[in-house]
């Protein structure tokens, strides 16, 4: 069992309330870094000093936050109204177990008995504003146990079966785990500025201020990226496939990832004998979109771990892909010199 992934994915950190994850990561890295601090938004910065061979300022980012919900009102019957935080498909909500606030109060999102609903009702998407979280309490008890403004996360145990791991929030705790492993390794030729960022799911907001603060010469974003190698009649790209290695981004809705860095990563993969996929160019986005332009043009690239069923309580990744992503990120960084990003 990969304990790092288990701890990180089972911890709760919905956008804007990443406390638990932040404290956990701080504990995981404190002995392996030279300095750490937390900024006003909650980004966790760590500095791992290099060997002094290179004066590059390198930033590596992974976001701590996950999708979830926000308690907005407590109804007369004690049930909770909520808003979605981040890109949650309403189809995901019914029949799920959730945890509320710092005390992790358990609740469920129910659905009217099938016997009492009309067929037409069952054919349409149950919208979040028509659903409630039920903690089994009267209004009086609910008011005592739950605060309006509490964040709500799905409950999902981490589980492994052979090469496969399932659980919630691999997006982007898997990226956080890779970054923790990098920090725990030998020093790099340069100072490595690690950023565990907040509020990615609500618009890449943490990374933007973090990049401004770090002012890196080059940045690497570690993400978990949708793998769509699933049954579908039409012949479309899978975006990424599970088990085929980490993916490198070329273009998404926010960013043309730095072509020199893309080439560097592909070359590193080839040299090290590591599988690398090209993530299907198109929509979506990563913190690269914020970092690349926050403090003047910064060469930035993203490596994504293929993950099925992002933004649901139950994602799936390949542990082999994860191990390869750690190796690929590590080797790519160690081979990173000023020459790589030299403009002619």
């Amino acid at each position: 069992m990969n304990e790092l992934l288990q701890q990180l994915t089972e911890a709760v950190g919905v956008s804007g309330a990443e406390h638990e994850v932040r404290a956990l990561i701080r504990d995981l890295i404190a002995d392996h870094v030279d300095e750490w601090h937390v900024d006003t938004m909650g980004n966790l910065f760590a500095l791992k000093k290099g060997t002094g061979e290179s004066d590059l300022r390198v930033m590596v980012d992974a976001h701590m936050d996950e999708i979830g919900m926000l308690v907005t009102q407590i109804d007369r019957d004690g049930s909770l109204n909520f808003l979605n935080i981040g890109g949650i498909n309403d189809r995901t909500l019914p029949g799920k177990v959730v945890q509320i606030g710092a005390k992790k109060i358990r609740g469920v999102i129910g659905l009217k008995a099938i016997h009492l609903s009309r067929t037409s009702e069952r054919r349409s998407v149950p919208r979040a504003d028509s659903l409630r979280i039920d903690i089994g309490a009267s209004k009086k008890e609910s008011v005592r146990k739950v605060n309006v403004g509490d964040r709500v996360a799905f409950v999902s145990e981490y589980r492994e079966m052979g090469d496969i791991a399932m659980g919630k929030a691999f997006d982007d705790r898997a990226g956080c785990a890779v970054l923790v492993e990098l920090l725990r390794g030998e020093p790099f030729p340069f100072d490595l500025h690690a950023v565990f960022s907040v509020q990615e799911e609500v618009g890449l907001r943490g990374a933007e201020v973090a990049a401004y603060a770090v002012k890196p010469d080059v940045a690497l974003v570690l993400e978990c990226t949708p793998a769509l190698d699933i049954p579908y009649d039409e012949d479309v790209s899978t975006n990424l496939s599970l088990g085929q290695g980490p993916g490198v981004y070329v273009m998404d809705a926010y960013t043309f990832h730095d072509p020199r860095l893309v080439a560097h990563i592909l070359k590193t993969g080839e040299k090290e004998g590591l599988p690398v996929q090209i993530r299907q160019p198109g929509g979506g986005g990563t913190n690269a979109g914020a970092i690349q332009r926050a403090t003047g043009p910064t060469p930035t690239v993203t490596i994504g771990l293929p993950g099925r069923y992002a933004h649901t309580p139950n994602m799936m990744i390949s542990l082999q892909d994860y191990a390869n992503m750690v190796k690929l990120a590590d080797a790519s960084l160690r081979g990173l010199t000023r020459d790589v990003i030299q403009t002619d």
Partner: protein
């Protein structure tokens, strides 16, 4: 008796309609200490007899709670990019809107099936891939597949068409005595019958008590019809969950019940008014609050099958209010289980030699 613990064990046991072997074993172990004989019949129903203290031949009261749960079944194994996925169909009435992103267990029986069930995730293609005309529609059963992370080749070796799939859901403890999970329908009623049998240990009762955990209620009330035929009871109680008030829920003209407040008792065409009366009397003795749980055409419970076995069986219906019936987060106040258990024990204790005559008489006078 720790009812939450019993409910947790029963609720987490995977046994959908037609595949009750696992839950049957759990129930036999649970009931054996409280009963004199225990058997399973050819279709799998558990039949446990606790002998009464009256002179032979003793009348028999049947307590019927179904032990099956709703579930899924594999009906196709498909390949995409070398990966294997399972297409599924339902066992019992499932609102498909809750299926997306659920965790399940595939009870594989293929030639190289593993010893324990295969964990999987129910998913579907991203909704953005659906045609425009379906953008505001829920996913349909055909959209879903189960992903176990296995390659097509491995999956084919492990899983077979017709393998059943259950929801992987732990019973959750919510506030106070409220619990939520899968299969509260109808493992809560099995728990209540267990409480009744436990309670009867310290009591004298004239009648023989035949406790049955029936099979395939969710699909066709199969165990109710067949055990009521084979056991020839003189009277019967069906125990099943009923609808509680919940956010976004309305019973239309029917009143629903608040969790933790009452024992709903069935009134309608499947219920003998004399049995209802006797249940109400027993509740009064215990100072338990009851409410009427009304049905017009059919109760949708085992009572429907039992009532018409052989020459007919006077049947009553005891309810347990739950929220979100037929979802994986059915919600119950566990105190209601204990109350229903005690009520049935009191009702049984009150059964004497004259009860059947009184029932017959009651059919000639509308006392309600």
């Amino acid at each position: 008796m720790d009812l939450f613990k019993i409910l947790k064990q029963l609720s987490e046991t995977p046994s959908p309609s037609g595949f009750e072997g696992t839950i049957s074993q759990t129930i036999q172990d649970l009931w054996a200490p409280y009963t004199d004989e225990i058997i399973t019949d050819r279709l799998g129903s558990v039949i446990a007899v606790k002998k009464g203290n009256g002179p032979e031949p003793r009348p028999r009261i049947l307590l019927a709670a179904h032990m099956d749960e709703i579930g899924l079944m594999v009906n196709q194994i498909v390949e995409k990019h070398g990966n294997g996925f399972l297409r599924i169909t339902n066992l019992g009435g499932i609102d498909v809107r809750q299926l997306y992103a659920q965790r399940v267990l595939v009870h594989a029986t293929g030639p190289q099936a593993p010893d324990s069930p295969l964990p999987g995730i129910i998913s579907a293609v991203p909704s953005s891939w659906l045609p425009d005309s379906r953008q505001s529609n829920a996913y349909e059963m055909n959209d879903f597949f189960v992903d176990t992370g296995l390659s097509y080749e491995n999956l084919q070796q492990q899983v077979t068409i017709g393998d059943y799939v259950t929801f992987d859901q732990e019973l959750q403890s919510l506030m106070g005595s409220v619990a939520a999970g899968k299969s509260i329908d109808n493992r809560a009623s099995v728990t209540a019958v267990t409480a009744t049998l436990h309670e009867l240990q310290n009591r004298l009762h004239h009648w023989d008590v035949v406790a049955v955990a029936t099979v395939q209620e969710e699909t066709r009330l199969l165990g109710a019809y067949t055990t009521a035929f084979s056991q020839k009871p003189d009277a019967a109680l069906a125990i099943d969950v009923t609808f509680a008030n919940a956010p976004g829920t309305s019973g239309g003209p029917l009143p629903l019940f608040d969790l933790g407040t009452c024992v709903p008792l069935g009134l309608g065409v499947n219920v003998h008014p004399g049995i209802l009366n006797a249940l109400q009397e027993a509740a009064k003795e215990l100072e338990l609050k009851t409410e009427l749980d009304l049905h017009g055409r059919a109760s949708g419970t085992d009572a429907y099958g039992i009532q018409v076995a052989r020459a007919g069986v006077p049947t009553g219906l005891v309810g347990l209010p739950i929220r979100y019936m037929h979802t994986v987060v059915e919600t119950i106040d566990t105190r209601d289980i204990g109350r229903a258990g005690r009520l049935m024990a009191q009702f049984i204790t009150n059964l004497d030699e004259t009860f059947l005559d009184k029932l017959a008489d009651s059919m000639l006078a509308d006392t309600a």
